[in-house]
């Protein structure tokens, strides 16, 4: 046989599976779908509807089948599986995308620290029994301490010390703690976590901070800023105008004088009418140690003098 004949034969075979159209067909292999964007041929449509429909469908399916047969395959127990690419057509979902599960506090911490999770097996190997036993639950390994027939008692233990009861209590406490943590995680997931509203103490501190800032002459402008401190709003220094009417000036000065003249209201300032501030004087004389220390010192000096 001549080579040209073989080639011709091959070309003829190829011809049988090749479809030629004006506009190439769009194949979406992921959805096993082919779309033929060519306009409908009105003549053949009217002449013989069924035949026309079948021939168009055949051409389309031929293109689709060629595309499917050229896909890479994997073997499976039932035979070769053609691996389909992800579909190109977008189809609306039936249900919204699932929301990601909220992380537990431990998971958040582990993520931040880069701790990878390793799942514990449910069974652990028991050397004594030479068998796999449950880590917890029925005949669980976590109950070994309370079920052993002999247990050590510390030297200074009470007379009614029960090692089995102690181990059991400890285990129960661990379980209770875990349940509490789970509950907190659930609460946090619902958004009503314990730290969602600022606690009372924090609000108190904020309030105090705001008052202190207002009480300096510069309205806290040159104060040392704390970390995360917010800028106070609506706080402005107010300057009196330099020129005021004599009436006003007089009344202002009089008000200052009247303040000075008033009975002191605070307990501390009530100390007496004396000009000397006794408290301050004691503090200065005792170098901040207080009146008792001052008295002791003076006594000691007296004693020394007497001996000599």
């Amino acid at each position: 046989m001549d080579v040209s004949e073989i080639l011709a034969e091959h070309a003829r075979k190829e011809q049988a599976v090749i479809v030629e159209k004006e506009v190439p067909l769009e194949v979406d292999a992921g959805f096993l779908t082919v779309t033929d964007p060519n306009p409908i041929d009105e003549e053949s449509y009217k002449a013989n509807l069924e035949e026309y429909l079948q021939s168009t469908a055949r051409d389309g399916v031929q293109v689709l089948i060629s595309a499917l047969f050229s896909l890479p395959t994997t073997s499976s127990p039932d035979g070769p599986l053609a691996q389909l690419p992800p579909p190109t057509t977008q189809i609306p979902r039936a249900k919204p995308l699932p929301k990601p599960k909220p992380l537990t506090k431990w998971e958040q911490f582990a993520n931040a620290k880069g701790i990878s999770h390793s799942k514990k097996d449910k069974k652990v190997w028991d050397e004594e029994k030479q068998d796999w036993v449950n880590r917890w639950g029925w005949k669980g390994a976590n109950k070994a301490a309370e079920e052993q027939w002999l247990s050590e008692v510390p030297m200074n233990a009470d007379i009614d010390f029960d090692p089995a009861k102690k181990a059991r209590d400890e285990r129960k406490a661990r379980v209770a703690k875990n349940e509490k943590q789970q509950e907190k995680n659930l609460l946090r997931a619902q958004g009503a976590g314990p730290s969602s509203a600022p606690p009372e103490r924090k609000r108190e501190i904020d309030r105090t901070l705001a008052t202190t800032r207002v009480s300096t002459a510069s309205m806290g402008r040159f104060d040392k800023k704390l970390e995360g401190e917010k800028k106070l709003k609506g706080v402005k220094r107010k300057f009196e105008s330099t020129e005021v009417s004599s009436e006003k000036e007089k009344s202002q000065n009089l008000s200052i004088l009247s303040k000075l003249d008033r009975e002191p209201t605070t307990k501390k300032a009530k100390g007496g009418e004396a000009v000397l501030n006794v408290r301050k004087a004691v503090r200065a004389a005792s170098k901040g140690k207080g009146s008792a220390a001052l008295a002791r010192d003076s006594n000691a000096k007296k004693g020394k003098k007497g001996k000599r």
């Binding site: 075979k13 959805f31 779309t35 047969f69 499976s76 070769p80 979902r93």
Partner: protein, 347 residues
């Protein structure tokens, strides 16, 4: 509204979990609802469509007072109760004889609807040909340029695709491809072929587009079985045999999807890290992820030129000047000059 159920045992817990939304969705279940007056033809059509859709089909064969375009409440109730997201409602009356409404749901709410009228119907039973195995995935074939340009027909295509084939799979057994559902339109009327999409968006949500419905071509739905013949090449030659049912439909009322809801419904899950590494998101050459999840790259180095390699310098290896030239010429120079030189040497 249904009450929210709190599972009391493991079985009901599993059942509820199966209904939760998933990243890769299960095949959609369709409910075929018989309206108050369905008529024999529509009932038969629904029966045959159900045969194609099996096993993901539920039949509501009693008379149901349901008007999807007026009040979708009962559809929403059924969707939730049956975990179904597709409906076909058959209803026939004087104004709209032999009507079928395709309804697609999202999150147990109506996403969009399309009403069609059945004109001609030939049952599967009338074709005395082999049928496809129930449950096998069909191929889909759409023919007309309107499927890419006209919003109503885009909606029809999307609906039918969802109905028969809207499930993402990553592999298929090629021998199991048994039938094709072909959707072909009638000849495009000249009014549509020129103006295209401009005329169509006026309809509004529940627009009864009678004058425009007239303008839209007929829809021919046919089902064929596929025969794959050996062609001598790797790709077989395809022959089709009509299997039935065959339907001729006209488009009637429709309700488009709300843009906001549609956006929600079209949201895709984020690609997995491994998929991105494999290059699903964007193309990455010469990179692959092995079974252990390690990223492996392949680098291509040009062939090393060993002729310029500097080896140990020795006196004995040094080429004599004249001889070296000859050798170079013979190896690298062109044939003509070297042969000439040889001839000269022999002279």
């Amino acid at each position: 509204m249904l009450r929210t159920i709190k599972p009391k045992n493991a079985r009901s817990k599993r059942a509820l979990k199966a209904r939760e939304s998933k990243e890769v969705e299960d095949p959609r279940t369709a409910i075929f609802v018989r309206g108050t007056n369905a008529g024999e033809k529509v009932q038969n059509v629904m029966q045959e469509l159900m045969a194609l859709k099996r096993p993901y089909a539920i039949s509501f064969s009693k008379k149901n007072t349901v008007r999807p375009f007026e009040d979708p409440a009962s559809l929403e109730f059924w969707a939730q109760k049956n975990d179904a997201s597709l409906f076909v409602v058959g209803q026939s009356n004087k104004k709209r004889p032999d009507g079928m409404t395709f309804v697609r749901m999202f999150d147990n709410r109506v996403l969009d609807m399309l009403e069609v009228g059945v004109e001609n119907f030939v049952s599967m039973r009338e074709f005395k040909t082999p049928k496809a195995t129930p449950g096998h995935k069909p191929l889909m074939h759409f023919a007309s340029e309107l499927f890419t340009t006209h919003p109503r027909l885009q909606q029809l295509k999307s609906l039918l695709l969802t109905f028969f084939n809207g499930e993402e799979i990553d592999g298929i057994h090629l021998a199991g491809l048994e039938h094709v559902i072909s959707v072909t339109l009638g000849p495009t009327p000249p009014s549509l072929s020129s103006t295209g999409t401009a005329t169509t968006t006026l309809g509004g949500p529940t627009g009864d587009l009678q004058p425009q419905g007239e303008a839209l071509p007929k829809v021919h739905i046919r089902a064929y079985t596929i025969r794959l013949l050996a062609s001598g090449t790797k790709v077989p030659r395809v022959e089709l045999t009509p299997m039935g049912p065959s339907l001729d439909l006209t488009l009637r009322r429709h309700q488009d999807a709300d843009a906001e809801v549609l956006k929600q419904a079209l949201r895709r899950p984020k690609l997995k890290k491994q998929d991105v590494a494999k290059g699903l998101g964007k193309k990455r050459k010469n990179l692959e992820v092995d079974e252990m999840g390690d990223l492996r790259g392949r680098i291509h180095v040009e062939k090393q030129d060993l002729s310029k390699l500097q080896t140990r310098k020795m006196k004995g290896l040094k080429a004599v000047r004249g001889e070296a030239m000859d050798v170079d010429e013979e190896s690298a120079g062109d044939e003509h000059t070297s042969s000439e030189r040889k001839r000269r040497r022999t002279d």
